[in-house]
């Protein structure tokens, strides 16, 4: 079925919905041949010079629709490979195994897994397959979304914004020669010290469905939304951004509970359809909230890094920093989506 036939609510630059992921990967590879290579058969993105002998390999993956995560984070100083699944559907063990083999430099491979039932199950099967081939694998789960209670009665908190920070910081640790245990350790530390919260102003539209995943009134927002259009904590009337950011900060900080005077990395993330001008307005409000609590954002990241297709919305992630994390954050990174240093 072509776009013209499914156009209603389908304002997308695509050919066949089922080809979006592969065609987008080809575009990524064509645009950044200096950084990554694409293995189309296995549907994985691999760092140009992988495997790096003696370096711990870093692999992540998940459903597509969150670009630039994860494929845009492959490169020196971050991921060695990414496994993109279909849109909003976790990848399959075969992809993860192929990626793991492609990046194993002999020092073992860390899997960074966002806490979703599907991702967890598929990465678990993949890790078993990899170990059958004598590759040491350490799996690290990210679960930073405080919109979901972490209780016996749920699948546990979702992995969202902190995943980006984990991949950058663990990637720097691996680049610096960290061991499998050290790289996995720093990744778990980042996850433990980071929390996120998201708000949606509109639903996303998946290429397969061609219609909004959920309906929101013209004056409504979804408070605590997930990155797959999963509805959130509750629906509320849109409020001035000052109020929204106060509620988001409250939800995050009451759970993270950093001591006064802490240095933080403040990450204001766009969900895909919200322009940068608004993300900086959010950042401005966030700095006021932090000040009020005697906290300082000594590092920042503002932009669309972990998205939900075309959803208008934003998430805030706060990470408590120490000298080690700050140094690893500042370390050089050369990927399609994050680039600094050399």
């Amino acid at each position: 079925m072509s776009v013209t036939e499914t156009a209603t609510g389908m304002k997308k630059f695509i050919n066949e919905p089922e080809d979006v992921v592969k065609e987008s990967l080809q575009g990524l590879g064509a645009a950044h041949p200096d950084l990554v290579r694409i293995d189309l058969k296995n549907q994985i993105v691999v760092r140009k010079d992988a495997p790096v002998a003696g370096k711990v390999g870093l692999v992540s993956g998940g459903g597509s629709g969150h670009e630039p995560m994860h494929g845009g984070f492959v490169g020196k100083g971050m991921l060695d490979a990414a496994c993109p699944g279909e849109v909003f559907t976790s990848p399959v063990p075969d992809q993860m195994l192929a990626a793991t083999k492609a990046v194993d430099g002999g020092a073992g491979v860390v899997h960074i897994v966002k806490n979703y039932t599907g991702d967890v199950m598929n990465f678990r099967l993949a890790a078993e397959l990899a170990e059958d081939e004598d590759i040491r694998v350490e799996s690290v789960l990210t679960n930073d979304d405080v919109a979901v209670e972490d209780s016996l009665w749920t699948a546990g908190r979702r992995g969202v914004g902190v995943t980006v920070l984990t991949e950058k910081i663990a990637g720097a640790k691996a680049e610096a020669g960290g061991s499998l245990e050290e790289v996995a350790g720093i990744a778990r530390k980042v996850n433990a010290q980071g929390r996120s919260f998201g708000v949606a102003l509109t639903s996303c539209v998946t290429p397969a469905a061609g219609a909004p995943t959920f309906e929101l009134g013209a004056d409504e927002m979804e408070f605590g939304v997930g990155i797959h259009g999963e509805p959130g904590r509750r629906r509320e009337k849109i409020a001035p951004v000052a109020e929204i950011v106060e509620q988001m900060s409250e939800a995050i900080l009451s759970d993270l509970d950093p001591r006064r005077g802490s240095n933080l990395l403040a990450f204001v993330n766009g969900l895909g359809g919200t322009p940068l001008i608004e993300l900086y307005v959010i950042y401005n409000e966030l700095t006021k909230q932090l000040e009020r609590r005697g906290l300082t954002a000594t590092r920042s990241l503002v932009g669309n890094y972990i998205t939900s297709l075309d959803m208008a919305g934003a998430s805030i992630t706060l990470l408590t920093l120490d000298d080690e994390l700050t140094a690893l954050w500042d370390a050089p990174v050369q990927t399609p989506a994050l680039r600094w240093g050399t």
């Binding site: 909003f88 976790s90 039932t117 099967l125 997930g226």
Partner: protein
């Protein structure tokens, strides 16, 4: 064994074909159910998986024993679907196939053992219990009904018909439940009032099994 002749590779292939057809037919409906409490991809996932299974079946020659057919189908789902349903249904079919081993054909009691192995595999991987609002709520009742029917002396056809309606009841019973596994659990109380997509596709697959065996006679 009582109640009609045994089940063979033929039957199993018919089952998988019937399941694939039903899932393809209900694809958009399943995706809509998933949109309400998940991420709007369950129909696409199951349809993609079983379409791949059909292709695989073509490659198998008639002599492949039924157990092999099922393990192959399970492996295919694991490599093609992703998401939660891929590993879950993939494991279910692989375990069922392994339980059947290499025998040419088998009877009702082996079928019970196979479905039991499937359920055990799903629970091992997903740790869901009945009442969690998952596919387990449609699979477990089906197995119970099948076992009870056969123990009560019903024919395999009749027992499977009972299993199929038990599975449908289990599916419907997920509506008032609050999900505590999978994506839907993020919704907390807001998951109440919606039918679980995985339970729905499971009921379709059990219905396909009943139909496939019924066509035997």
């Amino acid at each position: 064994m009582q109640g009609g002749k045994g089940v063979n590779a033929e039957t199993v292939q018919r089952w998988l074909r019937a399941a694939a057809a039903l899932l393809h037919e209900q694809r958009d409906y399943l995706t809509q159910l998933d949109a309400a409490i998940g991420d709007a991809d369950h129909g696409t996932n199951m349809d993609r998986g079983f379409t791949a299974v059909l292709e695989k079946l073509e490659e198998l020659n008639g002599t492949t024993p039924p157990g092999r057919v099922l393990t192959t189908a399970g492996a295919t789902l694991i490599s093609k679907v992703g998401g939660a349903s891929g590993p879950l249904w993939g494991t279910a079919l692989r375990r069922a196939g392994r339980a059947l081993g290499d025998s040419e054909d088998f009877g009702p009691s082996e079928l019970v053992d196979a479905l039991d192995a499937a359920l055990v595999g799903v629970v091992e991987l997903g740790a869901a219990e009945e009442g969690d609002k998952t596919m387990v709520d449609a699979l477990a009742p089906a197995l119970r009904a099948l076992r009870e029917g056969l123990d009560g002396g019903a024919s395999l056809q009749d027992a499977l018909a009972a299993a199929s309606s038990a599975s449908e009841d289990g599916m419907k019973a997920t509506v008032p439940m609050q999900a505590s596994k999978g994506r839907a659990s993020y919704l907390g109380e807001r998951s109440i009032g919606h039918q679980d997509p995985g339970a729905t596709s499971t009921a379709l697959i059990i219905a396909a099994l009943a139909r496939a065996v019924d066509e035997e006679t």
